[in-house]
Symmetry: C2
Subunit: 132 residues, 2 copies
């Protein structure tokens, strides 16, 4: 009987560090679909799971529209073969994308570490030999 997996908009905002406007905006774009108690929104566990994915998607630079499609992949309760096949295609594209990003990211990290190392070295030299 823990039907208290419902959160108000403020609780959501505090939990996920977003503004009410953002949550309403996401709802208007059909990324979220909170229940209503009268006028007031009540966010379910499902909404929270989706919001988590939304924010992650954003960190990766996906647009909200792309994220919406991605979210649907996690929502297939349907048993239509066609849908599953389509979903697989989209998912695998995304996966390729993410893996490419991973390679890219490793390179960026390596570059930056190299740069930092160079900086350290230069600092050491400066300190051994002040006043160039």
């Amino acid at each position: 009987m823990t039907n208290d997996d419902l959160m108000t908009i403020r609780q959501m905002c505090d939990t996920f560090e977003v503004t009410p406007r953002t949550l309403r905006f996401y709802e208007s774009k059909e990324l979220l679909a909170p229940k209503r108690e009268g006028q007031k929104r009540l966010f379910t566990r499902r909404d929270r799971a989706r919001l988590k994915l939304i924010l992650r998607g954003k960190r990766f630079g996906f647009s909200l529209e792309e994220i919406r499609q991605l979210l649907d992949l996690y929502e297939i309760g349907d048993d239509q073969e066609t849908q599953l096949t389509q979903a697989r295609a989209i998912a695998q594209n995304r996966l390729e994308d993410l893996k490419a990003r991973r390679v890219d990211l490793e390179e960026a990290i390596a570059d930056l570490e190299e740069q930092i190392a160079w900086g350290e070295e230069t600092l050491q030299k400066l300190r051994r030999n002040p006043a160039a």
Copy 2:
């Protein structure tokens, strides 16, 4: 004397798959600083290196302003200790950021792979037992 490390705007666009507008825009934001032959822009090897980093930064979702600061890290020919120390701080923040992203990314990839596996499995079942 391969002083032909100079490229026209069109060559740049073809090489990096961006529009002239984009390159001019980046210049206006001081991310690039091509030479001029009369009115016309001529992009140097340095511009190309910077553009590469710019595009990578964009793929990671950094704003152009953030990227500009990052670029400066790769441009310290200066021997000022203060600058180097500051740069190190910024660079290490970026590095933390990137490493956090890497963790995040691994998680996203894992999730997606799991989702795809589930989809495959469901498809198999459907094919063994058509018409639910």
